[in-house]
Amino acid sequence: MKLYCLSSQPNAPCLVLTFKDCTVMLDCSLDMSSLMHFLPLPVVHSERLTKLPIWKPYEDKESCVGKELKDCGGHVFVDSSLEFCTPETGLLDLSTVDVILISNYHTMLALPFITEYTGFRGAIYATEPTLQTGRQLMEELVEYCERVPKLQPATKWKQPDIIKTLPSPLREAQNVPSWRKCYSKHDVNAALSKVRFAGYAERLNLYGALTMIPLSSGYCIGSCNWVIQSEYEKVTYISGSSLLTTHPLPMDTAPMKNSDVLVLTGLNQTPTYNPDSMLGEFCSNLAVTIKNGGNVLVPCCPSGVIYDLFECLSAFMDSAGLTQTPMYFISPVADSSLAYSQIFAEWLCISKQSKVYLPEPPFPHSELVKNGRLKHFPSIHGDFSNQFKTPCVVFTGHPSLRLGDAVHFMELWGKSSANTIIFTEPSFNYLDALAPYQPLAMKACYCPIDPTMNFTQANKLIKDLKPLHVVIPESYTSSPTMLPHRNDLVVETDPPPTPYRRAEVLPLPIRRRYEKIEITQELASTLTPTEVKAGVFVSTVNGALIVKDNKYMLQPLPKSQSAVPGKKRKREEEVVTKQPKHYVYGNLDIDEFVQNLAKNGITDVKVEDSPGGHIVHLQSEDTIIQIEDGSTHIFCEGNEALRVKLRDVLISCLPKF
């Protein structure tokens, strides 16, 4: 059993597990941290961005990377089409992957790169909400990338000898050779057409060898963790999971107990921020801004926490007398996101689930849309410009501030200190996100709302689950670089966890010892077990092994092979069974043996003592039987009939099974 690590970013996992001749990919995430090194893609022409100076290493020297890099307040950015860090593809032949298991809609965005460009022929499993929401995220990404004028890709700066001469943080950019530009709409459709639906606690079967079970992870609609097991071994893969009570169905941990291996990823990215107090801070900042006539920009993902935000904010704004302030939700997939969230009741927490029995939609945002409090638009163009009223709250993508309509609002509102941008998504450092917009007059609030498990919860969970081995991304073994003194922000287990790094192959210490087999009634009825030890019954078995769908079955051996019609054996060939019918053990009682010989008509025997035991001499036949502790040797002249008789008497005097 081996684990291949195709991505080391703990919140953008992509791993491959080989187990019982099956190759299983666990998640297929796109690492978007690369976006931080690029200039934003403006929705409408931006004077400011085009006028940024070209970066030069020295005042007087021309750069060898041409116009690829731009300088914004001392920070260097790549000016090209955006690129995303894809999983490692050189570590193993990805066409051998049998199945890809997806945990949630955030961890599937690299699928087209794997399924369309590596010869992949397997199946993909995801829950229905994961597929639908994942499709929305991918479509949004493609739309954001494609609707702006095409930019030239930049390649010169990537050369290894040039990168190291560049200023930080570009110099430290990770895994640059794996950076790719976005896929197309066609790639998305082709990749997602390979997805099959999985339901919580469904037992999915892989070639009869493995059972794969998705379990609710409590993180977002349809999110899951995976248990991959054979009859005797169990591997648990925990991806983004939450123990908080928000809208998704709570986390199901019981079936993950006593795993042989536990792979843990997707822990909280902002463990020092409490989601509840962040929500409070979010609300008070919003209220202050609106009351001062400013606007609020919330860069966000089009699904997930925003459903909770809509619900909480509308209630808060009512109580703060801001009922008239409009909320705008702008995304190419805003309408599907809102519609789909209402039809996945069975994937939601019990209180939301029970609403459909009334029948009412699970989330209140249908009501907010109906009475005009929440307005949604595919983009800032068209209808939106007619209905746009300030002050307002705008929810739009992308949280990286490098693409999407958020870029436009940054250019529009950035110059005024009355406006506020509130960051809720934990996946990007907000200062890095803001860097290409500096200098900025707008207020920036950082209120990350990350519902995922923190380190304390994870350590406690591991203790409860009692896995034999724990495997984690390397970064979980030491305190975060930004908080070196917080040595509680690590995963600690006993025995210590095995860390993984990108492009590494970890052998997992699992020895398979047993497999299940079925014995047919027909064969079983021919067995006559012997009680060899008190309570232990033993029988030798010779059977025909049938292997079907990796399931083993033992049935009686076919009668005689030569009896098979139309398949005559050559007369000359001897057919013998190679295996003994039973085993004899222990020692021979010489007196009993002689008595039994007599019973079978062999009386002409002479017993002599020998150094190791006895020698029985059948004088008339010139036959000698040498008996020692644990062994008997019969020396016969050519009389086969006698030998067989002696053999049978001998066997009858020995214990056997």
């Binding site: 087999i517 029988s539 010779n542 062994s631 016969c636 086969e640």
Partner: protein, 595 residues
């Protein structure tokens, strides 16, 4: 070994008791719509004579929300008394209590009947419901697990598989194998159950294509309203009604028709709401387009008001309930029946005893409970829109799941008999169709489960010259030799040496050495002969001039001009080879001088 026992508690409604692996499961708990006395509920005394229902039953499974499948549930759980789990899907849990309440109102409040369950009982009963998602494996207890599959009969309808150890039973409830305007078709995996219990309502009808039936329906409706007649379509609030609404809605659009279409209120609007919230349970087309246009928001279909029933001119009215056994549909029927311009279209199966069943059988005078006699002059049309599997569909499901036995329930005996023959012929499996209350025992032989050491498996694989996966050539016989050790109810197959070790026993080694006198022959010649004869074995020349065939040793003891004395020596483990080799040498080389 263990048998599977099935007792249908009644025909005309679904309520089946299945017992296997030491568990008792009740499949559906339906009400008989044709009776108005205690006979409408199943007779649970069959179970309760040996104790309470809770003691006897491990769980109840409800396949879908039709009352002939769930109508007796509150009676059973609250009046007879059952506290165990009741399993059903989400939509069934949402819709079932509404239909129960609706039916209760008609029976108790309108007809003034007593000895019927109350609203509170329906609520208490629903508290015992455990929701099952499609394909989720639900562990009822440590042994019994159940799994639901899509059935496509009505919103939320499911097929159920129950499994205990290696034995399993599939119960279909009602299902449909052809996707319709709002639902998809039933699907099940190749789960090879020991028994498939399938409905066979349309056992012999191979229904003509869906499109023809739809055209026929639209033509009849159109003709009737052209003549100024009124069309009554008795339906259940959920299910067929929505499909027919979608059908009429698009037809009215296309033909630009003006005649009003009404839908009896209350239940219906709510019903459409359920369809909107449970879109994931409808067919692919509706699911893919619901963001742009929700198919369950109708433009031409308006809520019905009782006052409209006397309006002049044509109209189409969908009214509940579906078998004309009460409520608005019966009221409208009474009013419209005497006019031959009008038409009633029965879009589904009707249980014997109901007015629907009577008029479908051609009865032209109907006597109601009030002794009132209705003259049936209007045109009576039957359209089999009920989403049941037809004979072809049933065969298809059997092919999908490959059961070892089939049992038919629901339907007319003669037709079922025909289907039964067809199943036995085509699949070569047993098929039964039990009468009411008759116990059917299905013998089922199950294999014995054991553990096998991976080392033993791998060694056998290596011996057979196969790769580690063992599955290279399915036709080649792969023999397995091992030792079965039984201890503390556990069984494992291990290597002989390990078995001896575990039992603290050491093998008693037996060796045979026999002498045979051969005519002068070189070891090389002997080698060639043996190599030819024992192709399946390794024949080797050793350095000291002896021959080895597997573990059998052949050695020259005495060589002279007259002949060679050869020693053949083998361990007991290779007895068969040793003795046959020895006999071969004896018979082949000593033919001239027989012993």
């Amino acid at each position: 070994m263990a048998e599977i026992k099935v007792v249908p508690l009644d025909v005309g409604r679904s309520c089946i008791l299945v017992s296997f692996g030491g568990k008792n499961i009740m499949l559906d708990c339906g009400m008989h719509m044709g009776y108005n006395d205690e006979r409408r509920f199943p007779d649970f005394s069959y179970i309760t004579r040996t104790g309470t229902l809770s003691e006897h039953l491990d769980c109840v499974i409800i396949s879908h929300f039709h009352l002939d499948h769930c109508g007796a549930l509150p009676y059973m759980s609250e009046m007879v008394g059952f506290d165990g789990p009741i399993y059903m899907t989400h939509p069934t849990k949402a819709i079932c209590p509404i239909l129960l309440e609706d039916y209760r109102k008609i029976t108790v409040e309108k007809k003034g009947e007593t000895n019927f369950f109350t609203s509170q009982m329906i609520k208490d009963c629903m508290k015992k419901v455990v929701v099952v998602n499609l394909h989720q494996t639900v562990q009822v207890d440590s042994e019994l697990e159940i799994k639901a599959y899509y059935a496509g009969h009505v919103l939320g309808a499911a097929l159920f598989r129950m499994k205990i150890g290696s034995q399993s039973v599939v119960y279909t409830g009602d299902y449909n194998m052809t996707p319709d305007r709002h639902l998809g078709s039933a699907w099940i995996d190749k789960c090879r159950p020991d028994l498939l219990i399938t409905e066979s309502t349309y056992a012999t009808t191979i229904r003509d294509s869906k499109r023809c039936r739809e055209r026929d329906f639209l033509k009849k409706v159109h003709e009737c309203i052209e003549k100024g007649g009124k069309v009554l379509i008795p339906v259940f609030a959920l299910g067929r009604a929505q499909e027919l609404c979608i059908l009429l809605e698009t037809f009215w659009d296309r033909m630009n028709l003006k005649a009003p279409i009404y839908f009896s209120t209350g239940l219906t609007e709510k019903a459409n709401h359920y369809y909107k919230l449970f879109i994931t349970w409808t067919n692919q087309k509706i699911r893919e387009t619901f963001v742009q246009r929700n198919m369950f928001e109708f433009r031409h279909i308006k809520p019905f008001d009782r006052a409209y029933s006397d309006n002049p001119g044509p109209m189409v009215v969908f009214a509940t309930p579906g078998m004309l056994h009460g409520g608005l549909s019966l009221q409208l029927f009474k009013k419209w029946a005497p006019n031959e311009k009008n038409m009633v279209i029965m879009p589904g199966y009707c249980v014997a005893g109901t007015v629907g069943h009577k008029i479908l059988n051609g009865q032209r005078k109907i006597e109601l409970e009030t002794r009132q006699i209705i003259d049936v002059k209007l045109s009576v049309q039957y359209m089999s829109f009920s989403a049941h599997a037809d004979a072809k569909g049933i065969m298809q499901l059997i092919r999908q799941c490959e059961p070892k036995n089939v049992m038919l329930v629901h339907g007319e005996a003669k037709k079922m008999e025909f289907l039964k023959q067809k199943i036995t012929q085509e699949f070569g499996i047993d098929c039964s169709m039990p009468a009411n209350g008759e116990t059917v025992s299905i013998p089922s032989q199950s294999n014995i489960a054991a553990d096998i050491s991976v080392n033993l498996l791998k060694r056998n694989a290596a011996l057979a010259g196969l790769s580690s996966s063992l599955s290279t050539d399915p036709k080649k016989l792969c023999t397995l030799h091992g030792v079965l050790v039984m201890q503390d109810h556990g069984m494992k197959l291990i290597e002989p040496s390990q078995a001896l070790k575990e039992c603290n026993a050491s093998e008693h080694e037996i060796r045979f050495t026999s002498t045979v006198s051969l005519p002068p022959v070189s070891m090389d010649a002997l080698y060639k002969t043996l190599k030819q004869r024992f192709t399946g074995h390794t024949v080797q020349h050793t350095s000291d001039g002896s021959l080895v065939v597997d573990s059998v040793l052949i050695k020259t003891a005495n060589e002279s001009d007259e002949g060679t004395d050869v020693l053949v020596s083998w361990p007991y483990q290779d007895e068969e080879l040793g003795s046959s080799l020895f006999s071969m040498l004896q018979s082949r080389f000593c033919k001239t001088e027989p012993q």
